[in-house]
């Protein structure tokens, strides 16, 4: 009944959503996993990445490699910004109550949001797709944007590299040690402060990169910071805070539930209507728009109840 090409388009649409979410959520998860700080300002770093990329494109012009220079520039500036913020401010939060961390990072969201408005105004901005990745290809009878396919390649590469570094290198071993017992590592002579700063810089770099890479397919508007942080938060709750693969699969689940929720809600409305008519003899108009979004929230709620540490996370001690 349902065309396979339609299912394939929805699936690919879901994967695109997932890969953007993964880029942003991976940094959030990393910071929490290692430093036990929920950084609500992570979305603000992402927004800065988008604005900085736009700014650079205005300077260098998008032709040729301009976009890639802009993306790298944006990610680097955001990484530096993250490093400075960690050194000067976050440092004081480690080990404090979660409430203080939330209040502090929320204050940072407001400050950075206003700073972006001050620097770039409130007008929606947009960046063109780099010429190399513009256009689309035909795949199984569907039209797939090349840029989306590119993102589907970037996501897993970052997940794999991240996993490799954390699990197969000396640096990764020390980072994991910092996560498990900060004081012991300190006593063994490692500079935990530097490790924290570097991890924060890496997470900020990912946020800035995500912001820059999203510009060819989304408008840059004030408020994108808050919107994305809520989504990223759902992703890490589903996947498990602190787990890189958990974040990856959390993103994929979020994306696919959202993508398939749209056609499902359309098929479900008449069915529900018939059921209510048959069982309750009531002709109730069924309006379940937004079902997709509810499905995602419901999934998060269920996971919070049955497995609060997420699908791939480990229970907190």
């Amino acid at each position: 009944m349902v065309a396979p090409s339609f299912l394939f388009s929805q699936f690919m649409g879901g994967l695109t959503t997932a890969m953007f979410l993964f880029l942003i959520a991976s940094g959030l998860s990393l910071v929490f996993g290692i430093m036990r700080v929920i950084n609500f300002a992570h979305g603000s770093f992402y927004m800065f990445g988008a604005y900085l990329a736009w700014q650079m494109v205005q300077w260098v012009q998008p032709s040729g490699g301009g976009f890639w220079i802009a993306a790298l520039f944006a990610a680097t500036v955001v990484a530096v910004l993250g490093g400075v913020v960690e050194r000067l401010l976050f440092r004081w939060l480690y080990g404090r109550e979660e409430l203080y961390q939330l209040l502090f990072t929320y204050a940072l969201v407001l400050i950075l949001g206003d700073a972006a408005k001050f620097l770039w105004g409130t007008q929606q901005l947009s960046v063109s797709t780099p010429p190399l990745l513009a256009g689309s290809v035909q795949l199984f009878g569907t039209t797939q944007p090349i840029y989306n396919l590119f993102m589907m390649a970037v996501g897993p590469v970052i997940a794999f590299v991240g996993w490799l570094v954390l699990n197969r290198t000396g640096v990764g071993r020390i980072v994991r040690a910092a996560q498990m017992d900060r004081e012991m590592l300190d006593a063994l002579g490692s500079n935990v402060g530097t490790i924290y700063t570097s991890m924060f810089v890496v997470a900020s770099f990912l946020a800035g990169l995500a912001g820059a890479l999203v510009t060819p397919i989304q408008s840059i508007v004030p408020g994108m910071d808050v919107l994305i942080i809520v989504q990223a938060f759902i992703v890490v709750v589903i996947g498990g805070l602190g787990s890189l693969w958990g974040t990856f699969w959390g993103s994929v689940i979020y994306g696919e539930v959202y993508a398939f929720g749209i056609p499902i809600q359309q098929a479900m409305a008449p069915w529900l209507h018939d059921m209510i008519l048959r069982w309750f003899h009531a002709d109730v108009p069924i309006d379940i728009q937004g079902f997709s979004l509810y499905a995602v929230y419901a999934l998060m709620a269920v996971i919070l109840i049955v497995r609060p540490w997420g699908l791939f996370g480990r229970p907190l001690r």
Binding site: Q10, P145, I217, S219, V221
Partner: protein, 400 residues
């Protein structure tokens, strides 16, 4: 130390005296409008239009020999905040009138404050029919903008022109404005072209960052055309994602949008990524493609560009400008600033705007203002899309 303190106070008091005397003579207009947050994109240009109108009127000696004074406050597009600010403007600042708000969330809320306090309130841009429908109308509320019924009728008229279109899909933000505008479009299209079927309706949330799955679901229904009420950043995101997915190609660019995407505000953001060939609208096209620009409009846009120091100016400033022009005309006709008299003067009043005359309906206190519609085209003189031959639509709206 104490002496210096006293001196300072005395100086401050002396300095404020002449201003206090001046302020008592002005006609004060309280303007709650979003000046921060995502909707400030429209709040700011509307305020700029209002400020320009005030400056022009004051340069000619004001109204009834008194100057106009705007007291603008940031409503953050939040209904509660707009209500709080409106009360404060009335009680603390003693404003004579309220004129402002942006969204259909704020305007109906402020309207209740106007009703309680018996003070005239002009809403420049809220489109939801709820603002002035028979349950909510009261003597003090006036709407300068179009409403969603007018928009839907005009949009359906544009869609009906596509003779070979048999199936249409709609997509609109899932809140009052989107729902109302699609309902109006559907009702109007049914009368104009009963042969067209609406095969699918998509309702992404306002501010949706990812339309991909909505677009592929729409395309799955293989429509001949799309009717869309997405606006601002949402439209920018939507079209950036729809273009590579092949939506515009699949429907042969037969997309009609009623969300004011024909203004330079939207077009500039998309630049050459704009899906040329679609049909858009605007309160003020600002740039008049294809010649035939009315001279009053050209004069207005030139003055606006000089006033805001913008290269291209915004398509929303005209709403703030018209709001002040209408209020000034009402005060002039009433002969005083008592809200009861101004309200009577405004009902049925015809006032001039840079794009023609507008009249407040006696029953529903709105102008049923047409908007300018047309095909979005590339123009060698501009690095973005403009409306070709902007046409005020609907040509006739059954007013009450």
């Amino acid at each position: 130390m104490r002496l210096r303190h006293c001196l300072g106070l005395a100086l401050a008091a002396a300095a404020s005296l002449p201003f206090a005397a001046f302020a008592a003579d002005t006609i004060k207009i309280g303007v709650p409008i979003p000046l921060s947050g995502p909707t400030a994109v429209y709040g700011k240009p509307i305020l700029a239009g209002a400020q320009m109108a005030v400056e022009e009127i004051n340069a000619k000696g004001g109204v009834l020999g008194r100057k106009l004074e705007l007291l603008s406050r940031d409503s953050k597009a939040n209904a509660d905040e707009a209500v709080r600010l409106s009360r404060e403007l009335i009680i603390k600042d003693n404003v004579d009138f309220l004129a402002g708000t942006l969204t259909s969330a704020e305007a109906p809320a402020v309207s209740t404050v106007a009703k309680e306090n018996k003070i005239v309130f002009l809403a420049p841009s809220s489109k939801s029919t709820i603002l002035t429908d028979p349950q909510h109308i009261h003597p003090y509320i006036f709407r300068v903008a179009s409403n969603t019924d007018v928009e839907g009728l005009a949009g359906a008229g544009e869609m009906a022109q596509f003779k070979d279109v048999k199936t249409v899909v709609t997509i609109a933000p899932d809140y009052a404005y989107g729902r109302d505008s699609i309902a109006a479009f559907t009702a109007a299209l049914k009368k104009l072209r009963p042969d067209i079927q609406i095969v699918d309706s998509q309702w992404p949330k306002l501010g949706e960052p990812d339309f991909t799955a909505f677009i592929t679901a729409m395309m799955g229904k293989k429509p001949d055309a799309v009717y869309c009420s997405l606006f601002a950043g949402d439209f920018v995101t939507f079209s950036k994602q729809a273009t590579p997915l092949g939506l515009f190609k699949a429907i042969n660019n037969r997309l009609v949008d009623g969300g004011e995407i024909g203004t330079p505000d939207e077009a500039q953001a998309l630049g050459n990524d704009y899906p040329y060939g679609i049909i858009g609208n605007a309160y003020d096209p600002v740039i008049w493609g294809g010649g035939n620009e009315p001279p009053e409009h050209k004069k207005f846009v030139d003055a606006l560009k000089a006033f805001t120091k913008d290269q291209y100016a915004s398509g929303w400033s005209i709403m703030g400008y018209e709001m002040i022009e209408a209020l000034a005309a009402g005060i002039q006709k009433a002969g005083n600033t008592k809200s009861d008299d101004v309200s009577k003067a405004l009902a049925g009043l015809t006032f001039d705007t840079p794009v023609g005359k507008r009249t407040f309906s006696v029953q529903s206190h709105e102008t049923f203002s047409p908007e300018f519609w047309g095909v979005m085209v590339k123009d060698a003189n501009y690095p973005f899309a403009i409306i070709k031959d902007p046409t005020p639509l609907p040509a006739n709206f059954p007013t009450n």
